[in-house]
């Protein structure tokens, strides 16, 4: 096992990883930008280290600064969290070359899955269910239009190097396509360092169902069931739950088993999530694979009783899955998470500012993951997520009830939050009936406005 682990992240995930390291009795190093000096979770670390000014590219994305922290602290592992450098193969490689273990899959998997068209090609070769898509689009407008026609409108323009729904734009026809490609390229170039974009068939009213996988460095891979993350705004998840409602357990487990087999055959070697879209016809198609811990890992932890962060660390340290996981995994009850964003609940525009009041609910059965505390500033420099509220209950209906209660009890003053929007969705008839899809928030808020 490792001796000392650098947590190369901030906020809720830094807090979560530090907690795992403390529970495992490992030394930890937390890093922070000027904006995060004095953040509450820093107190959980054995050591802390300033890494630069507030803008992410000068701190949490500054690879040299982080490598320097590794050297100075004599750490033997680095946990990247999610976001920032967690899916940057070149960084993982640099960490490895420094003689430090990158807690994640081998850089080759980050590389393979980080580029979406390459990932699709690779997954398809191993038999992953897949919808139609294009290769990386060329510069020529005629060729772009031809690629779209070959798939059939409507299509979705997606950055090949991206994630988090950033730069994903639908096009209903050729006129929209030109604009969508141009905008997507601009956002991709800035967000992901490559302007490569490609097309996928746009699946209307899809559900987003993803499968948690865990593998080790000894050729074993398994799944920890699925999550439904259909409730999204701007292609970013807001409400996530496990298990996925309305899918027969046998079917969910069969698809999960198929995915675990593919991971084993491929030789995948740490934590990951295979994201799928489920059409109204019930068919699954591969969306992408995230080669890291997921923001919504907590709902899987609640229903399986497995600490995924500790499991990920133990796998990276060379332990075998058979030692890490219980002999039999099963889903107990139902867990739901709401992400609390500092944003306007109607326009979803960011709403940074000082948290004049910040009092998370403290009820039993409610778990809150946050990197913030009352009096702290939510700055415009980072992601707007300020907390995750996770509940676990024997049934889905009771979990919804418990989450509504927890969100109502969450007192926040200062930035506006999406809590009213999350509550409107949780209380809506389609959500309660399990008829979720990625357009549900817009539909529910539209109805509320009428």
């Amino acid at each position: 096992m490792f001796n000392k682990v650098v947590v190369a992240n901030r906020g809720a995930v830094a807090a979560r990883v530090l907690r795992a390291l403390n529970e495992m009795g490992l030394h930890s190093v937390a890093v922070y930008s000027e904006a995060d000096a004095g953040a509450p979770y820093l107190a959980m670390a054995s050591e802390t280290c300033a890494i630069g000014p507030a803008p992410a590219r000068e701190s949490y994305l500054d690879q040299d600064a982080l490598i320097d922290v590794l050297r100075r602290s004599h750490a033997d592992a680095l946990h990247p969290g999610y976001g920032f450098l967690s899916e940057n193969a070149a960084f993982a490689q640099k960490v490895t070359q420094t003689g430090v273990r990158f807690i994640g899959p081998s850089p080759q998997w980050i590389e393979a899955m980080g580029h979406k068209t390459r990932a699709r090609g690779l997954a398809a070769r191993y038999g992953m269910p897949m919808s139609q898509g294009s290769e990386v689009l060329p510069a020529d407008a005629q060729a772009i239009a031809a690629a779209a026609r070959a798939i059939g409108f409507p299509v979705l323009v997606k950055p090949a190097g991206g994630g988090g729904g950033i730069g994903m734009l639908p096009a209903q026809d050729e006129a929209q396509l030109t604009q969508a490609v141009e905008r997507s390229r601009s956002m991709a170039a800035r967000g992901f360092g490559t302007a490569d974009v490609y097309l996928e068939r746009l699946i209307e009213r899809p559900r987003h169902v993803e499968f948690q996988v865990l593998a080790d460095a000894h050729g074993a891979a398994t799944h920890l069931f699925e999550r439904d993350c259909s409730t999204q705004r701007r292609n970013q998840k807001v409400i996530e739950e496990a298990p996925a409602p309305g899918i027969e357990r046998n079917r969910a487990t069969a698809v999960a088993g198929q995915i675990a087999d593919i991971m084993r055959k491929m030789g995948y070697d740490n934590i990951g999530t295979v994201e799928m879209l489920m059409g109204v016809d019930g068919c699954f198609s591969f969306l992408e694979m995230n080669t890291r811990l997921q923001v919504e890992h907590g709902v899987t932890e609640e229903v399986t009783g497995v600490d995924l962060v500790q499991a990920q660390i133990r796998s990276a340290a060379g332990e075998k899955l058979a030692e890490i996981l219980p002999a039999r995994l099963e889903v107990r009850g139902h867990a739901i998470q709401a992400r609390v964003y500092a944003e306007d609940p109607r326009s979803f525009h960011p709403s940074p500012g000082k948290l004049k009041v910040f009092r998370p609910p403290r009820d039993p059965g409610v778990r809150v993951e946050t990197g913030y505390a009352e009096g702290r500033d939510v700055t415009p420099h980072y992601d707007p997520m300020i907390a995750k509220v996770i509940v676990h209950a024997p049934t889905r209906a009771r979990a919804i009830e418990r989450l509504c209660g927890a969100l109502e009890a969450f007192e926040i003053q200062g930035p506006k939050t999406n809590i009213p929007a999350a509550l409107a969705v949780l209380r809506s008839e389609p959500f309660r009936a399990g008829r979720v899809h990625t357009g549900l928030i817009a539909e529910v808020l539209g109805q509320t406005a009428n």
Partner: protein, 73 residues
């Protein structure tokens, strides 16, 4: 001629300045793009006019409600 003040709806950093002084703009045109919390949010003029002043430059910090451009309309 009316003087029109265009304000940023959000706190963030100026990512791009799209309009130049002297330029004629239509309602709905994007004058400036603000970056905040990993999003690009356009500052759009509701009125047509001629750009008189752009009060920010790229990388400037802006606050919610801050006047970022002035038009003659």
């Amino acid at each position: 001629m009316a003087r029109i003040e265009v304000k940023s709806e959000i706190t963030g950093t100026v990512w791009q300045v799209k309009a130049k002084p002297g330029e004629k703009v239509e309602s709905g045109d994007t004058l400036i793009v603000i970056e905040s919390m990993k999003m690009e949010i356009p500052v759009i003029t509701e009125d047509p006019g001629t750009v008189k002043e752009i009060r920010v430059k790229e990388k400037d910090a802006v606050a919610e409600g801050q006047v970022v451009a002035v038009l003659d309309g």
